[in-house]
Symmetry: C2
């Protein structure tokens, strides 16, 4: 089986290096970072932290080099989905492509370029330490399911989930993967931008009753939009939020969006709160708080252009 | 007539220096800045910009030095009202005290210390250039009216308004001064924190349809809270907002709250959005957007303590 990781950043690297451990899987990686690609080809892709792994795989910045693949796993930031899948789509003419990205709408973008699409959500996290070396911060589960509008065959979903699980990335294949996806989106959309706008860590946000109430207001809008689509969340995002606020979990964690804002990098807000607002409009569910937060973070991004 | 300016910052100085031009008015100023007080006593209080004025008056940092006054004009930042009026109240035992401050609730705080209170709103603005010297940026009207819960006699309100007007600060005495006050509060609460949270000038905020919609959402909540109290706004805050966004008016203006945030100074958010939320709760009017914005700015203030 040949699998190509599209976007071999932190999360993509966790899949790439682990899958490369399997004898029956050939792993390719497509990434735009010349340094990262060169390091991977020269010395392999190394993970350290939650697991020590060295993966041997072929990496490239040139999509034309990719052979035909059975599977793609798209792991770019949401705003890079379109160019990434446009460049690589030819490799998946006979394959199925999964997204394990943050946010809403990635499946639709992928489906414009390839035929068989898999909706996915993943909880493992890490960060690139240096080219060819990723720190694996958090282990966690992945869920995959056929994308309803343009589904991959369920047998393919099971095949990919099985490979990931055997590689050390526990993955479930389910008929409807929207529950975990919306739980994660609601979690991210309700906490990430609050950290980004205030400069507070997740724990400090949750300690302030006024901000915690705002978080719940955002969660409730997200739940209403999910419910209007018949999506059953696999668990309550509020539980995840309170759990993450514990000192031993992620009290001092700076939301990735806060890190983006501090570095003046475009955030994923369009695919988080923007996604919730978009689906809310489609289904007649008002989302004024998500709209407000979306607008504020877009304003912050614009201020960097002044 | 003896008038004491309580809090002789930018706005207080506009009243102090102009009133000091009148032969029938003796002006005192109470302020906590030793440098500013010393400069005023040594060389007078100078205004430049929209008007060139040199006012001779007595300034002090020691409230015990204040003689009995006919009027007080409180012009501190809203969070300093309580200590300022507590320190100076003895001087107004037989007088009336007006507030020309930003925000809601200042009258209540003053009324806890003095008997006769005047509600006021003022539009002139400036900034302190150096001790004893204030730049007068914008001329504008002032409105005064008896504070309903603990009113000054209307004749007193007229007397003070007349003195201000003769001094070059056009001032109306009205029975109900809540209309202009709420218009200004709604304007400030709907625009100031958006600039503070995004880093954008007023004009840039108004150019973005998403942020402009958020501003209108905040305005609408404020209008609903005003209406629930039977307050008739003297004009639509939306008009003021669009007017201020014009290039020749205040397109490039950094909201004072943005200046506060950049300098890590406590903002007036509790008395703006916090005030609207408080009156909203009293009158059963939901104000979710003002609550969200209030919480976010409080979070920003807290982040400076990390």
């Amino acid at each position: 089986m040949r699998i190509c990781i599209v976007g071999c950043g932190a999360v993509g690297s966790l899949f790439a290096a682990n899958l490369a451990q399997l004898e029956d899987v050939e792993v390719w990686a497509f990434d735009t970072s010349r340094e990262h690609v060169d390091a991977i080809n020269a010395s392999g892709l190394r993970l350290s932290g939650a697991g020590e792994v060295l993966g041997r795989l072929r990496a490239t910045t040139d999509a034309q080099e990719l052979p035909a693949c059975d599977f793609g796993i798209v792991a770019t930031k949401a705003m890079h989905t379109e160019p990434a899948i446009r460049a690589t789509a030819h490799a998946f003419a006979a394959g199925s492509v999964a997204t394990v990205q943050n946010g809403l709408g990635n499946e639709q973008v992928i489906a414009a370029h390839v035929e068989r699409v898999i909706r996915g959500t993943t909880f493992p996290a890490g960060k690139i330490v240096e080219p060819g070396h990723v720190q694996w911060d958090v282990k966690g589960d992945t869920t995959l399911g056929p994308f309803d509008e343009q589904p991959a065959p369920f047998a393919d979903v099971e095949l990919l989930a099985d490979a990931c699980t055997r590689a050390g990335m526990p993955t479930r294949a389910v008929e409807d993967a929207r529950g975990p996806q919306w739980r994660k989106v609601i979690f991210n959309a309700s906490t990430n931008p609050i950290g980004a706008l205030t400069g507070l860590t997740h724990g400090r946000v949750c300690e302030r009753p006024d901000l915690r109430a705002l978080v719940s207001g955002l969660v409730n809008e997200g739940k209403a939009v999910a419910a209007a689509q018949g999506i059953e969340l696999d668990s309550d995002p509020e539980v995840l939020i309170d759990h993450a606020a514990k000192p031993e979990v992620a009290y001092g964690h700076k939301a990735s969006m806060l890190q983006d804002v501090e570095a003046h990098r475009t955030t994923e807000i369009d695919y988080l709160n923007g996604g919730i607002v978009g689906f809310g409009r489609q289904h007649g569910v008002p989302t004024p708080l998500n709209e407000a937060i979306w607008a504020l973070v877009k304003g912050v991004e614009q201020s960097w252009q002044q």
